[in-house]
């Protein structure tokens, strides 16, 4: 089955699954608002105004979400935070996807001793308390966007590698692989040109499940003050500031916290729904 056919089959089934469509629509809408909001709003995410601190949400001057403890406009900051959170999640997921697919495809296709060693290494890595090593990494080195991307991506590839390896094991027995070998395509040629495109459908489904994990990780780090640094912000960092103000100004906490919860819930429902569609056997349970 080619990747195109898989997408076509999936989109046919999608019409039957309302929850998946609703979640996808909401995520799309939120992304658009997060991208356009800061551009359209008259306020800046940096400008502080100590006379206008902790103002309640209002419609009058476009400060839809009110202001924070430094008088900065919360709507713009929340949208900037959502942008950062989504960006980190997508980039980190792509990092984990590239590592995981290459690793899994090579292990599964070559097989034998190499496969055994590579998968044993994955088992050992699984047992490592990564989250704490990432915190250590953030403590030791300068905190930068790049480091956050790499650190989160480097954790999430393990699941992807396992899934891809399993799929590759069955793909390599197929006739088109024999045909490619017969006309003299090298092993790496087969992996890149013939195996990887066939993994696409499965990989996309599992990526929707790694994105919320990456969001959770980034916001966890930012919440602790070890992730995104001021004046940059992310949803996790906004929740952290909100906790300090919640008694006087609960909206400073409630708005970013609610948005983060909705984003995570949507991604989880989307990923679960897509996986059920791609793997009907799992749905039976």
């Amino acid at each position: 089955m080619s990747a195109l056919a898989a997408v076509a089959r999936l989109s046919g089934q999608l019409r039957g699954s309302r929850l998946v469509l609703v979640c996808a629509g909401m995520l799309l809408a939120m992304t658009v608002v997060a991208l356009l909001g800061p551009v359209l709003s008259p306020h800046s995410y940096l400008a502080t105004d100590l006379d206008r601190r902790l103002l309640a949400p209002t419609l009058s001057n476009g400060q839809l979400f009110g202001t924070d403890d430094l008088g900065r406009d919360l709507f713009v900051r929340t949208m900037m935070g959502a942008q950062v959170t989504l960006l980190v999640a997508v980039v980190a997921s792509i990092v984990s996807l590239v590592i995981g697919v290459l690793y899994g495809a090579i292990a599964g296709f070559i097989g034998g001793k190499l496969d055994a060693v590579m998968m044993r290494a994955v088992d050992v890595l699984y047992a490592l308390p990564f989250i704490f090593l990432v915190i250590l990494l953030m403590v030791v080195f300068e905190r930068s966007f790049f480091l956050i991307f790499v650190a989160i991506g480097a954790i999430n590839w393990l699941d992807m590698a396992r899934i891809v390896r399993g799929q590759t094991l069955s793909l390599r027995e197929r006739e088109f692989v024999d045909a490619a070998r017969l006309i003299g395509v090298s092993s790496f040629g087969i992996i890149f040109r013939h195996i990887t495109p066939n993994l696409l459908g499965l990989v996309v489904v599992y990526m929707t499940l790694t994105i919320p994990q990456a969001i959770l990780m980034e916001s966890f780090l930012s919440f602790l003050g070890l992730g995104i640094q001021e004046p940059q912000t992310s949803l996790g960092a906004l929740v952290n500031r909100g906790v300090g103000q919640m008694e006087q100004a609960p909206w400073v906490l409630l708005i970013p916290a609610g948005l983060l919860a909705i984003v995570l819930l949507c991604f989880n429902f989307l990923g679960d729904g897509l996986r059920d569609l791609a793997d009907p056997r799992d749905k039976a349970q």
């Binding site: 050992v124 989250i131 090593l133 403590v139 602790l224 916290a257 995570l264």
Partner: protein, 307 residues
Amino acid sequence: MLRYVSMRMVGAIPTLLLVIVIAFLMVHAAPGGPFDAERVLPPEIESNITRAYHLDESLPQQFLRYVGGLLHGDLGPSYRYRDYSVSELIGSAFPVSLRLGLTAMAVALLLGISAGLVAALRKNTFLDRLLTGIAMTGISVPIFVVAPLLVLGFAVHLNWLPAGWSSSSGISRYLLPVFALALPQIAFITRITRGGMIEVMTSDFVRTARAQGLDTLTIVRYHALKPAMLPLLSYMGPAVVGILTGSVVVEQIFGIPGLGQLFVRAALNRDYTLVLGIVILYAVLIILFNLLVDILYGLLEPRMRKR
């Protein structure tokens, strides 16, 4: 069985060593020394300090010294809290976190298993949908969102429970942190129990038991419960990781003087030795617990021992 247990124990050693090596190297690759931020010292004093902390030795020597200390439970001096050793700091914070974590785990198991069993036995009813929906929400909403919301609701608005740790004593100060810590685990355990139970209840031996005329309650109690709990047992490793990471957040929000709060403070202060010590302690806890789960699994499921 003894062979199985000892093989598992030997298997855990490389993982443990790997964690220690990675963490140690990371800390020692840090740009700048631990005392760079302070005022310039005369060279004699600086070399004295360097010698006192063994920073003049080569990296392998320092590593061996550190591992040697580890074996005696000595994690070296703290770089920030000058009068305390890392072991002393951890020793005073750990019991608080341990009590909190164990209570949360017990609550999560009790509520999660009950909810999962109810959902499985009432599969596809309204009750089942409600419970699985709540579980999905519990999995999705992170603990650092749930915990402040609990404080806002129960402490600030209703004023039923204390918001902070130090503002009260007794059981009431445990309620909110324990519940916040347990909530995501309740959600996961509900889902896993439900899945495991449904699979077992549709298996052949349960059908046979039904054909013999046993009622559902007897089947669940004497036949289905044990095999249905096996997937839950293998989730116990990740659950411990979840409780540990969760405690970092919960202790921060409620101001609990436990290991998690110590860890975050050390991280923000760049107290390298303290962070290193806590990371290693967390790693040891996780690896030991995984080992325990593996051994229990082997006891309950003899087929596993052959692998």
